[in-house]
């Protein structure tokens, strides 16, 4: 057994030496990181200088260097705008509901697919489930509009045939959240389950075999082997879903909404688009975007720290 060495003259010197030694040991790894760092530096960090615009009265003619600084004027403005709070309410409402419904469903679907025996049937259902992912939101929205049409849509034709009354889904704001979340689940369910399927196939089969020997039933296998086996993937996905609590897929909202639905369909992203692109208040939109990013970053860092504390590891 080694005895504890007496402390050297300079601890900092020693630390620096072990650090430089470790860096040299991992020099190939730093080389591996180089393309990614270069990509991020050029395509993400260089444009980030645009954040300055949030504190300016940006004018396209003067450019960033020539525009006047106005401090936090834009932040005060949107924090006192009732339209912003309406958008905030819609965004958080939609996000929480889709966390509640949209998050667990792909996991359940992946487990169901995974426990199917017939491999041909399994592959066919899997492939079919990916299909909607490849359809753009423009098309999904036009399908939704067509199917829900009060006169010719299938849903209303059937409900009328059964003696019900036709509902005009796309004119009543009450249905928008449900429609958005429902069509998002329809579109991305199969796709989101791919990740969990990859994680499921990494669970060692011996664990299942020994569980069967110990007399575990299907449900017990699910609770004690399957779910713990994919817990790291679920945790990672949860951290990022929580991080995007203040974002709702802009493409979905943009295509599904119409002016009649604005009470429930105006999300923060749509508000930014409306102010920045349609009303040309670029600095104002950048300020909201910046606040949104800051909150998202705080949420992700927070949930990551929580995950490190509870489970001992996190995304970063």
């Amino acid at each position: 057994m080694l005895l504890a060495k007496p402390p050297l003259k300079s601890n900092a010197y020693e630390n620096r030496r072990t650090l430089s030694k470790a860096i040299r040991e991992y020099r190939t790894m730093y080389l591996f990181l180089l393309p990614a760092l270069a990509c991020v530096a050029v395509f993400a960090y260089v444009p980030m200088t645009g954040i300055i615009m949030a504190f300016q009265d940006y004018s396209i003619i003067k450019g960033i260097s020539g525009s006047d600084f106005v401090g936090i004027k834009h932040f005060i403005k949107f924090f006192t705008d009732p339209a912003f709070y309406a958008a905030l309410k819609n965004t958080v409402g939609i996000s929480l509901l889709s966390l509640l419904f949209g998050f667990p469903i792909p996991i359940m679907f992946a487990i169901m697919i995974f426990s199917m025996r017939d491999s041909l049937f399994k592959r066919i259902t899997q492939t079919i489930s990916y299909l909607p992912h490849f359809v753009s939101w423009v098309v999904v929205a036009s399908i939704v509009y067509k199917i829900l049409d009060p006169n010719t849509g299938v849903v209303n034709v059937i409900s009328k045939a059964m003696g019900g009354e036709a509902v005009n889904f796309m004119r009543d704001p009450a249905y928008f959240w449900g429609l958005l979340i429902g069509s998002s689940i329809w579109k991305e369910l199969g796709w989101n389950s791919i990740l969990y399927l990859a994680a499921l196939s990494a669970v060692p089969p011996e664990q299942y075999e020994s569980a069967v020997v110990d007399g575990a039933g299907g449900f017990q296998k699910l609770i004690f082997i399957t779910l713990p086996g994919i817990a790291p993937t679920i945790g990672l996905m949860l951290i990022f879903t929580i991080g995007s609590l203040f974002n709702v897929n802009f493409d979905a909202v943009y295509n599904l909404r119409n002016p009649l639905l604005s009470a429930t369909a105006n999300t923060i992203d749509y508000y930014v688009y409306q102010e920045g692109v349609l009303n040309d208040k670029i600095s104002f939109a950048t300020a909201i975007g910046l606040a949104q990013s800051a909150v998202a970053l705080a949420l992700v860092t927070g949930s990551n720290a929580l995950s490190r504390k509870i489970r001992g590891y996190g995304a970063f």
């Binding site: 990509c39 909607p132 990022f240 970063f316």
Partner: protein, 271 residues
Amino acid sequence: MQKTETLKSKKKSEMITQFILGLIMIVFAALVMYPFLYCVAYSLSDSVAVSTRNVTLLPIGLTFENYVNVFKKNNILRPFMVSVGRTCGGVAWTLFVTGLASYAISKRRMPFNRLITFLLIIPMYVSGGLIPTYVLMFKIHLYNNFLIYILPKGFFAFNMLLMRTYFDTLPPELEESARLDGASDLVIFARIVLPISMPIVAVIANLYKMMIIFRFSAIACLKAGMKATPGKSRSASSKLSTSWRTSCINLFPERFSPPRWTALRLRARHG
């Protein structure tokens, strides 16, 4: 005797489970497929018949005229090939960049690991916005260049984290024994880690399509000949108000609808 009895009942309950699963899946597949069949039926229907009667499952007044028109009038082949080239090139580039980075990040002992990971993750949440991005693309001559479809999208932190999560599950003995045999890091990565990581490589290659952010290509609105299919189908849909034509162009798989960036683009060009 009792054992065979329980085995039998187990087999029976297993069969019931499989049957129920199969039933759920058939209902699910029907729900997913119906809107597609509806689209196909709609695009194959006669445009006059569609306006008076309801298409449910089968086309009314079967005609291929709409498809013929798409290929004749909209010159769809070239944008389609641009889509294909962009996807192939992009997948290769993203796998190169992300694969190497996530292997490096999976080495938890590496100094500054967490700092680097954090720096790579920040852009997931913070971005400079449209105008600086546009100006940058213009300055580094990616504007009106096919490479704009590929280079900027080489790296997504999310993909890196997924790959790292996979690399974490690989047994460390594999690498250690190779290192004892004198293999270098590069050889270990290319010969040992990569071949057993094909499942995650396939996932990343698939995810790449999901990550393509249309806005980049929208702001870079290229020469007419270089547009990819979604831009094309969008311009077709604005030109032709009848939805049946767009509905058959849109059977080409693509994502994202570009909002009206054109006004902004024109202004940004002078900024």
